[in-house]
């Protein structure tokens, strides 16, 4: 079964937050939505969870009890300990007794929180708090997991651990829909939707998204057209819509980050003409 949005539009007054967006989140896979600030990622996830009603389009989601959500703020109760957070959410879903003990033990160990069980959530590091938030979203065995920038502000090691948990949840059969600003992470997702100002720039597997960009990208010390160039490390990457770069300069290792930036530049060029 697949959850997701089909041709969904959302308007807030005169602003179009989502413009005929289609986004599929099949069970057993991780579907990422990427884009800059204000792209519409959180609105899309809001439609998926039911927090926002679209103006038009269709949404497929599981029943509320089978929905797991992790907001960008982690969704943990700061003045409760790790165990108390888990117990509260478990009680809300009617998970008690041996079932609760088994789930709590397994998830806490997997999240590396077993030595912090008595620590208040506000005393946890950012990464630990995000992992606790993920545990809370996963606790009741949802069929759709909606994660809003779960790794933002998290240290690299915790990011790897969180991704391990996300992948495991998908492997166990959950549909995972996540928003992220980290494009290297998005490449690990089964499918990616690139959003900019509420519009879909590209979608598909990371390879398909990268392949959908017309023209070539070159790596140069000094760009010929600064409006189509961006800095990565010590060099510039420059997009050539007509493929008019010299072969020596062509970046043979174009990644999702290059593609997304180039797609955004492309859209803005179209919008201004």
């Amino acid at each position: 079964m697949s959850f997701g949005l089909s041709e969904v539009s959302v308007r807030f007054g005169a602003t179009t937050a989502l413009d005929h967006i289609t986004f599929a989140a099949p069970r057993g896979s991780v579907s990422a939505v990427v884009g800059g600030d204000g792209a519409g990622k959180t609105t899309l996830l809001g439609c998926l969870t039911g927090a926002i009603e679209p103006d038009s389009g269709r949404v497929e989601r599981p029943a509320k009890r089978l929905l797991g959500v992790m907001p960008s703020t982690s969704g943990t109760w700061r003045d409760l300990t790790v165990d108390e957070n888990i117990d509260f959410v478990a009680r809300a879903y009617g998970i008690t007794g041996e079932d609760l003990r088994a789930k709590r033990g397994r998830l806490v160990a997997k999240a590396g929180l077993d030595r912090a069980r008595d620590r208040l959530a506000r005393q946890l590091s950012g990464g630990m708090r995000q992992k606790l938030g993920f545990v809370l979203a996963l606790l009741h065995g949802p069929t759709l997991l909606v994660l809003d920038e779960p790794t933002t502000g998290v240290d690299p090691v915790s990011r790897v651990e969180l991704w391990g948990m996300i992948s495991e949840a998908a492997a166990a059969g959950a549909a995972v829909a996540m928003a992220t600003t980290y494009l290297d992470e998005a490449e690990r997702a089964t499918t990616v939707l690139v959003l900019d100002s509420g519009q879909a720039l590209a979608s598909g597997t990371a390879g398909e998204v990268i392949g959908s960009l017309p023209g070539t990208i070159s790596v140069v010390d000094r760009p010929a057209d600064p409006r189509r160039a961006w800095r990565r490390g010590r060099v510039y990457h420059e997009w050539h819509p007509g493929g008019d770069s010299t072969s020596a300069q062509i970046d043979s290792d174009v990644d999702l980050e290059d593609t997304v930036i180039a797609q955004m530049l492309r859209r803005r060029e179209h919008a201004s003409t």
């Binding site: 079964m1 039911g50 679209p54 949404v59 703020t73």
Partner: protein, 353 residues
Amino acid sequence: MWAMVMKEFQELRRDRRTMAMLIALPLLLLVVFGYAANFNVSSIPTNTYGPQAQKVADGLKDPFDVRTVDPGGSRNDAETAVRDNKVDVAIVSQSSGKPTALIDGSSLFAAQSAVSAFAMSGGQVETDVLYNPELKTSWVMVPALAGLILTFIGVIVTSLGLVRERQEGTLEQLAVMPFRPFDVIGGKIAPYFVFAAVDMVLVTVLGVILFDVPFNGSVVVFALGSLLFLLVLVGLGGLISSLSQNAGQAIQLALFVMLPSIMFSGMIFPLAAMPWTIRWIGYVMPLTYFINIAQGVMLRGAPFTALWLSFLVLAVYAVVVFTAAVLRLRRDLAPNVKAQPRQDVAAKTAVAA
């Protein structure tokens, strides 16, 4: 510094509640409190009983406002009228001799005015101050203060509860959990209700012990009134919480309940001395009704039948504030609701089991 001043003005301009407090509130407070701050009771509800009831009534001048003249009535009838807060003064006459004015000492300012007026009349009427013979301020203030302290704790502390969920981002987490808005409001305020109930017992017992305030009535009636009052307070706190985006807003709104409660509930300034243009504010405040119950039970030993109207008002109040809080919170918690629903919505939402 100029940059700082400009920034502050820009922020204030967008904070409408603070702007309203800064501009409108001082004017409102001056006008309203100017009228409220009056200790002189110009009208004292009075009944006369006994064979000379009519003669006594005819002889009464301001500030006495004769409501009932009952030539067949007895001292018992007079005491009941005062106990049940029907009047502040009941004058009982016999066939001969001086009539006796029974004065309700729990209505402190009215009683002081009555005693003073009778003294100036040259001793034509004997006075008997009931329920607070020495006209002690503490006896009247302790039951009212218990209510005020509870208003402070109940409204302000409770109002911060939901706001914290909103500020920490856990309200959206609650929205997707299997809770109804009533579960969230009820669950949030239940602990505050318990603590406020314990506070109520402590404040009342301590007030009775420290200030020798009598407790003449039924503990059960007092407990029932207190619980109803606390329910209103935590409900108001919940409503304020659901209307506020942050702690500052919650406290501002709570103050809008606190200030009129102090000024218009009759705790400091007698309601009877206020013109009706502002007196109605007192009748909107739940503290007014609690004070009526607390002073009635503790000082006058009034039974439930004499206080039923205050109980009824508090019960209606509780239902209204809880319903309003739940409805307001439903907007935040219930999915599929946009702030401004559109007429041309064509969205179809499918929910798979």
